[in-house]
Amino acid sequence: MTEGPGFDAPDAIAGLDYARDLGDPGTYPFTRGQAPSRRGGRSWVHRELSGEGSPARSNEQLRHLLEHGAVGLDVIGDAPTVGLFDPDHPYARHSVGTQGVSICRLDDFAQLYDGIDLANVSISHSLPAAFTVAGLYLTARRRSIDPALLRGSVINAPFFMEDYGYATLLPFEMRLRMALDTIEFATREMPRFHPFVEDTYFISDGGPGPVDEMALGFVELREVVRSLIARGLHVDEFAPRFVILVNCRMEVFTEIAKIRATRRMYAQMMREEFGARDPRSWSATITVHTSGASMTAQQPVNNVARGAVQAFAMAAAGVKAMEISAFDEALRTPSPEAHMVGLRTQQIIELETDVQGSADPLGGSYYVERLTNQMEEQIYARIREFESAGPPAQLFESGYYRSIFTDAMERHGREIADGERPHVGVNCFSIPHEDDVLLREASESKIAPDHAHAEAIARWRGTRDQRGVAAALDRLSHEAAEDGSLMPAILDGLEADATIGEMAGAIRRGAGLPEDPLTGTSR
């Protein structure tokens, strides 16, 4: 980073060709951004991570954010939900609703979205993709909202989330198939919705750096594109609705360069490699979640500064939507206080700075353009390395990807522990705990597990039309053993009041696995 004279001279980007490598904002290869300009009041979507407790309690949280100027919502499920387990599962008793909202049935979606204008508010979901698309679709229909108007997105991560985020205990082939089924369904029925968010945030946070973040993300995205084309779809049918959700750590110029390189690479891949003809397929929609791993438990108030620096950088990078990891991130999902600081930070950056004065304020900087070229070169090299190592299913089986992640996690942890990576308040400029009081109370307040909700779900189970539930689950299990789309059977399952945990069990059964791999039991 400090090699050379300490600045970039023009020869650092000597070969750069403006039309070929940059182009005006809004034109191929979209290095300078997806939109031609920021004029006309179009800002990025401000949102903050939310979801806690029952669907009804989370609904209050969402409404509160909208009342205070959020223009989009970002809902995350609790650990059982994201892993496809119901709140009354024996492993879930101490985690129901503590790190997100608990969702397991159709009525939960109705409660979560109650009173929210689904045709106009964009809702980003970190919830199980197939079930969320089905739940949102059915909820809209019940409220007489045309599903074609639904906005927002869902994280759809068949590759790496299993080992490095939330495990669903479904085999790789089934995860990929469900991702493709979801995209196909939404492409047809919910054309404004983004059913494929390539989430590189979780790939990288606490582990792989920016190069592998994007390389691994592209490996997944490219396989999804190839698989959809193999199913007979044209790339222009689905690519315009793809989203890439990236991380932003504290090395902000590298992060900005990463985003600019990603836009250029995405455009090249879509046009040259996958044959996209619609310019909307060429321009990557990039959103950001700022790095949770950069936030410290020590002196949480310092994280307000970190979030502001990262958010400003991301505004300068021209992202389409943003959520800031909140000051209490190291300790909990965001408190109401942290929500407000995150939202206000975005508003200050948008309204009080002149970052919106240009669609690409850093374009042409010798430093940023040199970094952008470097990132592109390094990311391409790693993509080639990963893709030539073998087919994805085989690489998951052999532990190839596992070792990449494990090594990166250990390296990252050691860099902080050994002081190689400065972390203010942690490995330098630390203060005694008794002096570390600012924002500590808000950061350390806890969300109790929602035992009442788990008990309510357990009671409700007995009141359902059991034959209808069983029939829907049998159908889903049967479909899972065949090779058609699972979406019709999932929609039927939700309408029959089957739970997400039960449906995941039926899918596992169809795939020849125990319905509940944690307890080893089957129905």
Binding site: H94, S95, T98, A167, G207, E410, G413, I447, L518
Partner: protein, 131 residues
């Protein structure tokens, strides 16, 4: 002296493994034998594994609040087991100093919060193992 053996994992649906993996590497570097059980562990399973493996310590890395309930449950299970000398060590950035004090009162041998160094982690596990 017999080699120190530790069963290491996370509780319940706590799926953040970064800390657990880092601690595993610290312990292995220090010559400790680590039986890494990863995610999805209820207290009874951790205890059963520790008994099967003849471990001296169960170490749990935490990034969700499930430890508040599971740690005392595990302490009670250990006390009632055939190996009441087994020790429990808990660590993680989400553990506040108040929680740490309460966990120690509840019988957790050592609690490591945010900012614990490699030496502190290794030292706490070795001390719990009586090594």
């Amino acid at each position: 002296m017999t080699r120190v053996r530790v069963v290491l994992g996370t509780f319940g649906f706590d799926q953040h493994e970064v800390g657990a993996r880092l601690v595993a590497s610290y312990l292995r570097d220090a010559g400790v034998e680590v039986v890494y059980v990863g995610r999805f562990n209820l207290p009874d399973r951790l205890l059963a594994t520790a008994l099967d493996e003849d471990a001296q310590v169960i170490a749990v890395s935490c990034h969700s609040w499930e430890y508040l309930a599971y740690a005392p449950e595990l302490v009670d299970l250990i006390a009632a087991s055939e190996a009441p000398e087994l020790r429990l060590v808990i660590g993680g950035s989400v553990i506040t100093p108040d929680d740490a004090a309460r966990l120690r009162e509840q019988g957790v041998a050592a609690v490591l919060g945010s900012g614990a160094t490699r030496d502190e982690v290794v030292g706490a596990v070795l001390a719990a193992a009586g090594a």
